[in-house]
Amino acid sequence: MAFLDRFRNPNLTFLAHPHPHSPDKPILKVEGLTVAYDSGAALDNLTFELQRGERLAVVGPNGAGKSTLFKVIAGVLRPSRGLVEVAGHEPGGHICIAYVPQRTQVDWSFPATVADVVMMGRTGKLGLLRWPTHHDYQLVRQALDTVRLLDLADRQIQQLSGGQQQRMFIARALAQEAELILMDEPLTGLDSRAQEELFSVLELLHSQGVTVMVALHDLKIAGERFDRVMLLNRRLVGIGSAETVLNPAQLVDAYGSHLRLLPGVDGTLALGDSCCDDGEHDHA
């Protein structure tokens, strides 16, 4: 039954290559990353590193390549050129990365409960031809408890609010035991209370040493709630603290014609990112 065991073990299947982690390496290392579509470059020569437990906001206009970047890191898309390393190894053998999709890209009428979706995260660790055990159900409950959705576990996923739907996917990432969570515009369409709840969950993840990369439109939130900010427009315009990255020159560089710079009171600068759902945001 050696063949069957190989088939079952998620780290040793004949279809995926095993990639142990190197704990001394950064959780994410990207070097000279280029992704070219038929229509042109989606990402051009990106180089950056991410340390364990860091919170990085990724901002840039629509079409800047945020989703493309996330999909390459998740191992869904192959880069045309360059190197991507997760904990010292190429993506492809890892199941420690979780991708939280944009809410509009999910089939919410799918016949599944909240607990069903979170259990999907366990599938990678379970391996083929195995059914969830008591331990897996325990982990799912724990994950739901962490994001405070335990009482909604048996709801059909369509019956959740926008913020609850986001937190359900974070619970799925937790059930997956992900070390790097990629979130594609999780704030879109959330009211400020739902955003607060989401950030308190992200705070909890931070305290557990989970690394998060979040694509955003809101520059103010990017500056206030994250350790570092990445400004992206197909190429890397800047990465670092909000003060160094979100300066007028670089913002004009990244946003170009999408951006309107307006003088505000107290020497602040108001800017409108015309691709946002909810209009204008302030940036100090």
């Binding site: 998620p10 999909k71 998740a74 991708y99 031809l129």
Partner: protein, 282 residues
């Protein structure tokens, strides 16, 4: 009343036909859950039609013998299912266009081959619309074995197929062998189509895959419940359809499909009304 129910069952061909129709209904309905959720109805319809040339060649080679037809159909179905899958992945045209081209081409080839035989219309009608009352013991056995096999594989890969239907990106990040699993699902659909051939025929096949599953989809909010309910609806529809066929002397495949369709319409109207009423009450 009891007489009405029991009278058709005194004929062995009725019993065999009913057993076959119930089996086929259950297999197609369970698999149909994935067909509905992944939007593969057109693929299923095309695949059923693409089997016709295989049936025709088997028919011509075997001189009209029925036994080898099952294997000819099985071979054609598996080959064309993987072929359609490959073309739709690699061709630079849209998937439904690729399916349309292959499906119509294969179907035309099948009709051309069969039309070279004298007794063309009768045989063609059997292939197109099924002949459930002609199901023999051997046919029933093959249906049970292969239908059972489909159900076992669906059960084994339940959690993987669910992820592929709900979130292909998650499947990729979890390193599931997505291509292999997709091909397994496609072959399962091919096998389900072949075992259903005698019951409903090529032309009405897609209804068995889609209608009971869609009806169950309106009523349930969990995948395994959707599958179980779809299977129940299909089995009951098969029995009712065959009684209707017996007493009103209509084609059996059509009667079964019409029963499924009626069930769908009733559920659809009831759930729409229910939602309307709830919205007003709120």
């Amino acid at each position: 009343m009891l007489e009405v129910l029991l009278q058709p069952l005194q004929y062995p061909f009725m019993l065999r036909g009913m057993a076959a129709a119930v089996l086929v209904g259950i297999v197609c309905a369970v698999l149909g859950a994935y067909v509905v959720l992944r939007g593969m109805a057109f693929f299923g319809d095309a695949l059923a039609h693409a089997i016709l040339p295989g049936l025709a060649v088997g028919y011509l080679v075997g001189g009209g013998a029925r036994e080898p037809l099952f294997w000819w159909a099985m071979g054609t179905a598996v080959v064309s299912s993987l072929g359609i899958g490959a073309v739709s992945r690699t061709a630079r045209i849209k998937e439904d266009t690729a399916i349309g081209i292959i499906f119509a081409g294969m179907f035309a080839l099948g009709i051309a081959l069969i039309s070279s035989v004298r007794s063309y219309t009768v045989d063609l009608a059997h292939f197109l619309f099924g002949d459930v009352l002609g199901v023999g013991t051997q046919d029933l056995l093959l249906t049970a074995v292969f239908g059972g096999l489909v159900l076992v594989v669906v059960f084994l890969f339940y959690k993987e197929f669910m992820i592929l239907a709900f979130d292909p990106v998650l499947a990729a990040t979890l390193r599931l062998p997505a291509r292999l699993l997709d091909n397994i699902l496609i072959v399962l659909i091919a096998v389900a189509i072949v075992v259903s051939l005698q019951t409903v025929g090529v032309a009405l096949m897609v209804a068995m895959l889609v209608t009971p599953a869609a009806t169950a989809y309106l009523l349930t909010r969990r995948l395994w419940k959707m599958m179980a309910l779809a299977a129940a609806i299909a089995a009951v529809s098969a029995v009712i359809g065959l009684y209707l066929s017996y007493y009103f002397n209509v084609a059996s495949g059509a009667a079964i499909v019409l029963t499924c369709t009626t069930a769908f319409i009733i559920v659809w109207v009831a759930t729409s009304l229910n939602r309307r009423i709830r919205a007003v009450a709120r």
